[in-house]
Point group: C2
Chain length 343, copies 2
DNA sequence: AGCGCTTGCGAAAGCGCTTTCGTAGCCTAG
DNA sequence: CTAGGCTACGAAAGCGCTTTCGCAAGCGCT
């Protein structure tokens, strides 16, 4: 709302530097057509005057929009807040603004938010978080993003592979395998999985890794109990209850993210089932509190902050013909929530 | 960057509705000078066409900026991510965009970010997080915000009182008192405080409450060991080490936020000092993981999400002559990290 | 010396919107 | 029946920037 009047405009800078408005603009945007000598002087004058472009005018005039839209499922989930932290860091370094919005893990709402960002003319869109096993909305999202790109927008996603855009891909399958292999190598044979919402690709991928671990030991993967609940702490509680009720002889629970693992631990604690003596529990992500839980959680570490950084850096590179993919790597972090099963 | 061409403009809507551009604009912004009948028709047409205003054009033309700038110390700190969640919720309901940036707990950098937000013409600024006991930068910040407001911008802050703007104020002093009183009533007499950075008003206020609790029992507040380190988990670790070294007979540690409490707990765990048997520990904030720590943390709950919501709601109200203040209230949440001292 | 190129810069045309100003048309009062 | 005042709307002037276009100067070539 701030009214005009007080603010410094580009004309003022141009005047002070003794050049035309056009030259001033070119100097500051780095366009060529200006001698490096003049450009430097203009930049100098602008800086000394404390000039800051008006992004609205710039964008309206057809320049690059300097804001990046970030879509997360929920910003007060540590997984996403760490990613957001990474994105904001890079944006800060580049002088970009970050517009953040929630998708609430609802594909339709997410699509609405993306449309909104596009309508708001952001220059870059970063979408963090699992995709959905719902071909229809995924296709709609994909179409929207493709159109956005063809108009010059840049896109990168984190943890989604079906969108045909640059992607940072967490090692979900390999991490799942590592978790499964870890428990199996400790001697566990009666495992159960606290999985997130069925429709999320993250869940599918991590599950696939777990199953592969089972099969690689020649075990019957089809008999593995898998409980699908929300991908949250609360969901973890419900899953734990269900597992304990229907499969009381389980010795190890694989939660497909740390939030769920926290729910699982909380139920076990409430029931005084000792972890890891009577039950081993593993999570996934290694959110920063995982090490402080009771007991400290064995989990797979994903470099969330870096993932956020990488995503924005990827999006900021000149576009490539084919979608780029960056894998994140992962680390199995063994802490105190796993041990060999009691005999 | 998206180029023109494909996008629907207000002229298109006006044409479709058979009115002039001016009338269309007035209809959509709710300005009067248009009969309700025509206005309704225009809105109808706009909606059916799927029209979305171009915020850059709108803002440039002098309309209200529809974005809110949110300054947090660090978004991947649960305290701030929960606040951000609340702000984003309200913004989503109001169709506003949230631009988020970090201050990194550095008053100068924060001021830079605020200037940047203003230069970017946001309409609303929300500043979350402790103020600084540094009169010079606080004054500069205040001046900047006042100028912003006088130009029509709206501002609200969370947890700062010296800025002369609408504020949501956490019950820091009262919460500190509650914590102190709780430990004292359990019988502790040798307390120590793991305090955050000296220059933060949040620290000062919470400290004041703790001291009041001591004095209200006629105890000597001046002999209370207070260790100032970073207001983070890491700072908590260092503070705990220092307390154990210099005041080995301490029976209760008051950490001035949950992050520090987590650090304290982690050091105690490493040293196999049992909590709460040998040492009671309390935190402040009640971030969502506090209940899942080992042991579950006794702390003071602040409604962070609501604080974010309240701040934006406050800022969105018509400005008042005097700065408004909303207190948040607090709740002492007693969990498993506190017990009477061992005799 | 004359031609076409490239290079460096300025003038001016928008970008899509809000808003001021002007002008019908209508109502009320004299 | 007309003067004055509303009200509902349209025309057009910007908001501050980027960019196209045009022009002048400098270059190498024939």
């Amino acid at each position: 709302m701030p009214k005009p009047g007080s603010r410094l405009r580009l004309v003022d800078v141009a005047e002070a530097a003794g050049v035309s408005l056009a030259t001033a603009s070119r100097s500051l945007t780095g366009r060529d057509g200006v001698s490096e000598e003049v450009a430097a002087r203009v930049r100098q004058v602008a800086a000394s005057l404390g000039y800051v472009v008006n992004p609205y005018a710039r964008t309206l005039a057809g320049g690059a929009s300097s804001s990046v839209g970030l879509v997360v499922h929920q910003v007060d989930d540590p997984y996403f807040s760490e990613i957001a932290g990474g994105v904001i860091q890079v944006a800060g370094e580049q002088g970009l603004m970050v517009q953040i919005c929630h998708s609430g893990r609802d594909p339709h709402y997410e699509l609405r938010q993306i449309r909104h960002l596009i309508a708001q003319r952001v220059g870059v869109i970063i979408i963090a978080g699992s995709g959905y096993d719902d071909p229809r909305t995924e296709a709609a999202t994909r179409a929207e993003l493709t159109a956005f790109q063809s108009l010059g927008g840049r896109v990168a996603v984190i943890g989604r592979h079906a969108l045909g855009v640059d992607a940072v891909l967490p090692d979900n399958e390999a991490g799942g395998y590592a978790l499964g292999a870890h428990l199996l190598s400790l001697g566990h044979r009666r495992l159960a999985v606290a999985a997130g919402t069925g429709g999320l690709t993250t869940v599918t991928d991590r599950m696939a890794g777990v199953l592969r671990a089972l099969r690689s030991l020649g075990l019957d993967a089809s008999s593995l109990p898998v409980v699908h609940t929300d991908f949250t702490r609360e969901g973890g509680c419900r899953a734990a209850e269900e597992i304990l009720r229907d499969h009381p002889d389980t010795t190890g629970i694989i939660a497909l993210n740390d939030a769920m693992a926290m729910g699982v631990l909380s139920v076990l604690r409430g029931l005084k089932i000792s972890v890891p003596r009577k039950m081993s529990v593993v999570g996934f992500d290694d959110v920063s509190v995982a090490a402080d839980l009771a007991p400290a959680l064995t989990t797979v570490r994903l470099p969330m902050t870096d993932m956020g950084r990488m995503a924005l850096e990827l999006a900021l590179k000149p576009p490539s013909a084919r979608a780029r993919r960056r894998s994140t790597g992962h680390t199995l972090v063994v802490r105190d929530s796993t041990a060999p099963p009691r005999r």
